[in-house]
Amino acid sequence: MTLRLRAVAAILLILWGGWFASPADAGDLKNTIRDLYGSQGMLLEPTPLPFFTQESRFQASSLQGLDQLNNQLTSAIGVPSFNSSVAGFTFDIERGIPERTTESLGPLLTERATTLGARKLDITFTYTRVNFTKLQGKDLKNLELVFLRDDANGNGIRDTTGPFSFESDSIRAKLSVDLTEDIFALIGTYGLTSEWDVGFVVPITHIRLNATAHAAIFDQFGNPGGTKIGDLPVHRFGPNSTKPDASGGGDKTGLGDIILRTKYNFLRNYDDVIPDLAFLVEMKLPTGDENQLLGTGGTNLTGLLVASKTYWRSFTPHVNLGYEIDTTDTRQNTIRYALGFDARLLSELTFGADVIGRYKPDGSGTGDHIVDLSLGVKWNPIKSLILRGNVQIPLDKNSGLRADFIPTVGIEYIF
């Protein structure tokens, strides 16, 4: 019976991988923001002779500003971490009887040192919705970029007085960005031995990125229209310039970055004080299309030390500490940590709370230190079936690309 169920699980896994492994539709979401005003950046209406042409004076600044925002947004999109539960029986050697696990079912997004158990297979489907609302504390629906004009007379500064005071004109672009991710993840964990688990996470991501922008020219005092010579504005939009109103984006569905993971529980039940310890190694593969924002485009390696200990048979505090190496850009290397607990509230109900952090020591300044609070429950209504629900709440919305909250629901079965 167990073998048959495992076979069914294996077939489902293969179908899942094969079904979604097909490439996404053509198109390029990654540069949606950068290309809002075209790949050349913002070009103004050519000024008729005998004036100097102002057509490309904001081009570099607009390209740089949009590119920076584009990178800030796209580099911050990632896959949440997942794990498997701990359920079933343990064996009491002294009494010679199996004991139903009265511990809690384990944390939701972080790790506990104990493993699944030899020859056990845990299959989990989760759905996570991420609706990003803030970038570095700013509302994604109300972003503003300011493009500065380049130096016309070559004196190295933007003149604020005199005939070249128009150098201090600026273009302000108001942007509204709608960025959401729906992640369907298939998570498999198999216990090779009672101390050693191997597993994978196969995410299927639907991402939607739409942006609209409205640009306007201002002089150094904030007056609309910018500096004028007589009635003629020095900088202006017109029929031959970039349109001040722009929009772009779309949505894509496809395979995300697959994660392979293994956990070895090298210390268990040593005594009443020393915690159980495990080492977890994770490899994120660049299987998601980076250009469609379905993947990060690089291979990441993570080593994580996990410590946990169950007290009073129902309360398990845990600590995770590790380092993630981004093999394509070492500035993205991240220290990962989590501190929390999971506790059995009722015999079939577990509550978990964690503070989860990611810190990039050499980061770019955007989202270098992200801290979330994770709250969730696991419910074991029948035998090996576990239902899970979790919400991740940012503790600091001023760092990086953030959602107001990230809900995750899932269903898990242990074969």
């Binding site: 019976m1 079933g88 029986f89 002294e94 199996p98 158990g117 030899a118």
Partner: protein, 314 residues
């Protein structure tokens, strides 16, 4: 006449040889074994692995009771209504309990059961198996080897649970030249008075696999008694040795118990009567020695014991 007789004998021998060759060249039908597992725990899976490794010529179907006696009974009811298997392997005490109740006419081998006689009645003649109990003689011998002063071994027990074990142990202790000082209790609360009554009367203390005695407060008091009176305590597991018992002796592995059960099954399938096959105890044992405790008790552990210890807590 003599020639004819010799020819006849040769003919018969040749026929027998031919028959044997023909018989051996046709594969015998594989024995059908149903393995009923009490629950899905690692050690039971190891038992099944060990059993399978010595039962190459059998077809083994596994069924997991998932810790539910009713589920086990329903399975056995279905089993009885169909073609009968040649043998049932009952892994763990819950599987044995339902098999004892439901099965009378199919040979049963149990494995990984502690104190099986508490489950199997005298009327059950179709059951044998490999218990997970450590051999009593080894436990008594171990305590004797720890110190030449060990002449009296204290034991508290609940007669309804381990009375049979104590009777065996008294006999074995006598053979080994030591005396078992026993105190019967019926509740874990009685263990305190029972132990207090042994003060000055015993040279070593032995924890039996008795559910009444194994109440946490009783075990704690036995550990305390051992330290206060500076006498060695023999526990049932590495865990108890880590808690402070001088020694812990348990079965070595589920796999080995499974192999023992497999060997018993092979004997039955080869035609030996189940009634003629006695239960076995763990053939391989795992010894833990706590040297921290030894130091506190002022005991020097003999090298022979340290050499055979699987785990030494320093």
């Amino acid at each position: 006449m003599q020639i004819l007789t010799t020819r006849t004998v040769r003919l018969i021998l040749a026929a027998c040889l031919l028959g044997a060759i023909v018989h051996s060249s046709v594969p015998a039908e594989a024995a059908r074994i149903v393995a009923l597992k009490s629950a899905d725990v690692d050690v039971y899976n190891e038992v099944l692995e060990g059993f399978t490794s010595v039962s190459q010529r059998s077809t083994i179907s596994e069924y997991d009771m998932e810790g539910d006696l009713q589920r086990g009974k329903q399975f056995l009811a279905r089993l009885k209504s169909g073609p009968k298997p040649d043998l049932i392997l009952a892994i763990g005490i819950w599987a044995l309990q339902v098999v004892v109740e439901e099965i009378r006419d199919i040979p049963v081998v149990f494995a990984m059961v502690l104190n099986p006689t508490t489950v199997i009645g005298h009327e059950a003649h179709n059951i044998t198996g490999a218990s997970m109990n450590a051999p009593i003689d080894q436990q008594i011998a171990l305590l004797k080897k720890i110190s030449p002063h060990v002449r009296r071994i204290g034991v508290i027990y609940d007669p309804s649970k381990t009375g049979f074990l104590v009777r065996q142990a008294e006999r074995i202790a006598r053979d080994q030249g030591v005396r078992l000082v026993t105190k019967a209790i019926t509740s874990s609360k009685d263990s305190f008075a029972a132990l207090d009554g042994m003060q000055g009367e015993i040279d070593a203390l032995w924890i039996l696999p008795d559910l009444t005695v194994l109440a946490p407060e009783s075990v704690q008091y036995m550990l305390l008694f051992s330290f206060r009176n500076k006498i060695p305590l023999l526990g049932l597991s590495e865990n108890q040795a880590r808690m402070g018992a001088l020694l812990g002796l348990s079965f070595d592995s589920g796999r080995d118990i499974g192999i023992q059960a497999g060997e018993l099954a092979n004997e039955i399938l080869a035609g030996r009567s189940v009634e003629d096959i006695p239960f076995t105890t763990a053939r391989k044992v795992r010894l833990t020695v706590n040297l921290k405790t030894a130091a506190k008790l002022g005991l020097q552990i003999p090298k022979e014991i340290l050499d055979r210890a699987d785990v030494v807590i320093r």
